[in-house]
C-alpha cells in the first residue's frame, strides 16, 4: 500500500490492515479449551455472554466520550479503558461461540444478536452521558462501581473450573485495577473539589445507585454453575469496602442499598433491559447490519 491516497486502504483487502479490521482470529490458543465434563455447555455459553456483554456494552458507552471528555487526556483515557473492555469482551464472546458450537464468532454475537439476547447488567447500559443522560461525574461514578465490582468478580474467577474464564480473568484483572484507580482518583478530585463538582458527584451517585443492587443478585445460570461462575452475592462486602474508602476520601456518603425492581421484575441477565439499551444496540450494530462484513 502506498501513502499517496488516503482512500486506498479502504479497497485493499489484503491481510495487512492496520489497525482494526480483518484478520481477527481466535485468541484463545494456548489455554486448555476443553469444557470440563461436569459443566453444562449451555449454561457456560450463557455465563460467557453475561460477562462478555458487561464488558462490551460498557465499552460502547465509554467510547462515546472520545472527543467529548473535559480534556484531551481524558478522551484518551476513557478510550483506552474502552479498548481494554472490548478486548475482554472479544475473548469472552469467542469462548461463548466456541462452546456453543453453532458457528457464531465474536462478531456474530456482538453485531447480530437482538436486544433481548444481551445478558449484561443494567449498570453497564444506562446512559451516563455525554448528552442529557448524565455527565462526566455520572460516568466516573458508574465506572468506579463497575470496576470495583468486576475486580471482586474476576479475582474469584481466576479459580474458575473453566480454564479459559480463569485465564481471561487473570489477564483482565490487571487492566481493571487501572480503571478503578482512574475512576477513584477522579471521584476524589470531583467529590472533594468545588461546590459545583461536589453537587454533581452527589447527583451522579443518585443516578447510578438504583442499578447497584442488581450486581449482587445471582441469576439461575450463575447459581447452577458453582465452581465455574462466581456467586455475585459473595462480592457485596468487598465492593462496599472499596466504595466506602473512595467515598470517604471524596466527602461523599454511600447511600443505603436501593432494592432493585429490575425491569418489570426481570434482570439484565435474563435479557430484559432498560429503555436505553435498544438505542445503544442500534448504534453499535448499525454499520455491520447495513454493510455486512464492512472493514476499514
Amino acid at each position: 500500500m502506498s501513502f499517496d491516497n488516503a482512500y486506498e486502504s479502504l479497497i485493499d483487502h489484503e491481510d495487512t490492515h492496520w489497525a482494526f479490521g480483518t484478520g481477527f482470529h481466535t485468541a484463545l490458543e494456548g489455554v486448555d479449551r476443553e469444557v470440563p465434563a461436569t459443566v453444562d455447555r449451555a449454561d457456560l455459553v450463557a455465563y460467557c455472554l453475561m460477562l462478555g456483554d458487561d464488558s462490551l456494552v460498557l465499552s460502547q458507552r465509554l467510547a462515546a466520550w472520545c472527543s467529548r471528555a473535559p480534556e484531551l487526556e481524558e478522551d484518551i483515557a476513557l478510550a483506552n479503558i474502552a479498548l481494554d473492555l472490548l478486548g475482554q469482551a472479544r475473548l469472552l464472546l469467542t469462548r461463548a461461540g466456541e462452546v456453543e458450537g453453532a458457528g457464531r464468532d465474536e462478531d456474530a454475537l456482538a453485531y447480530l444478536r437482538d436486544e433481548r439476547e444481551f445478558r449484561n447488567v443494567h449498570l453497564a447500559e444506562i446512559d451516563c452521558g455525554p448528552g442529557p443522560g448524565g455527565d462526566f461525574a455520572t460516568t466516573i461514578v458508574r465506572l468506579l462501581v463497575f470496576s470495583s465490582w468486576k475486580i471482586a468478580q474476576f479475582s474469584r474467577l481466576r479459580g474458575s473450573a473453566d480454564p479459559v474464564l480463569a485465564a481471561v480473568a487473570a489477564k483482565g484483572l490487571k487492566e481493571l485495577a487501572y480503571h478503578r484507580d482512574h475512576a477513584a482518583q477522579w471521584a476524589v478530585r470531583l467529590g472533594d473539589g468545588t461546590e459545583e463538582s461536589h453537587r454533581r458527584m452527589v447527583a451522579a451517585v443518585d443516578r447510578v445507585w438504583p442499578f447497584v443492587d442488581e450486581l449482587f443478585h445471582a441469576s439461575a445460570v450463575e447459581a447452577r454453575l458453582a465452581g465455574v461462575a462466581v456467586d455475585p452475592a459473595e462480592l457485596r462486602s468487598e465492593v462496599d469496602g472499596v466504595l466506602d474508602a473512595v467515598f470517604e476520601a471524596s466527602g461523599l456518603t454511600r447511600p443505603e442499598p436501593i432494592p432493585t425492581a429490575f425491569v418489570a421484575g426481570q434482570a439484565g441477565r435474563e435479557g430484559v433491559h432498560t429503555e436505553a439499551m435498544g438505542f445503544l444496540v442500534a448504534e453499535m450494530q448499525h454499520l455491520h447490519r447495513s454493510m455486512p462484513g464492512a472493514v476499514w
Partner: protein, 163 residues
C-alpha cells in the same frame, strides 16, 4: 544456520519498532518440526489491537525466509507482564525516548490495593535524566503507555506503565 526462532526474534513490534517482539517479551515460543513452525505470542493487554499485526508480521517474515508452513498462536496464560521486557529492550526504549517500566517483581497475594492518589513513582526523564517528572495521564497513545512531563527540561515523554 538461521533458525526459525532466530527469524522470529528479529521481527519488530508494530507500535514500538525500536523493540523486537522478543525484547518486548511477547514472543513466548518458537518450535520447528518437519518444516512446520509454530510460534506462540501473548498480548500485552486484552484489547491490544497490535496482536493481529504481530501475527501477520511473523508469518510474513518466516514465509519469506522459506518456511511454508507457519502457524502463529496467541496465548493468554500466563498473562504478560512488563517484567518480561528484556534488559536490552529497556535500554533501547530509553535511547528511543520512552521511559521503561520499573520492575514489579513477583505478585503478592491478597486484594488489589486501591490508589486514591497517582503513585509517586520515580520515573527519570529519558531525555535529560532528571528525576523530577510528573504523570500527566495514566493513559497514553497506546494501552501500555502513560504520559509524563519532565519538570526540568519541560519535555513531555511516554512511560511504559507497569502491569
Amino acid at each position: 544456520m538461521t533458525t526459525a526462532r532466530h527469524i522470529a526474534e528479529q521481527v519488530r513490534d508494530p507500535e514500538l519498532p525500536v523493540l523486537t517482539l522478543a525484547d518486548l517479551g511477547v514472543l513466548r515460543d518458537v518450535t520447528e518440526s518437519d518444516g512446520r513452525v509454530l510460534v506462540t505470542i501473548t498480548p500485552t493487554y486484552s484489547g491490544c489491537p497490535a496482536i493481529d499485526e504481530m501475527g501477520s508480521d511473523l508469518r510474513r517474515a518466516l514465509t519469506s525466509a522459506g518456511y511454508a508452513d507457519v502457524e502463529v498462536r496467541t496465548s493468554l496464560h500466563p498473562a504478560w507482564t512488563t517484567d518480561w521486557i528484556s534488559e536490552s529492550g529497556k535500554q533501547k526504549l530509553l535511547d528511543y525516548g520512552i521511559a521503561p517500566p520499573n520492575r514489579i517483581g513477583p505478585k503478592v497475594a491478597g486484594p488489589i490495593p486501591l490508589n486514591l492518589t497517582p503513585p509517586s513513582q520515580r520515573v527519570p526523564c529519558p531525555r535529560c535524566g532528571s528525576p523530577r517528572t510528573t504523570e500527566l495521564s495514566r493513559f497514553g497513545s497506546t494501552a501500555c503507555k502513560a504520559l509524563r512531563r519532565c519538570e526540568d527540561c519541560a519535555e513531555p515523554f511516554e512511560h511504559i506503565k507497569e502491569i
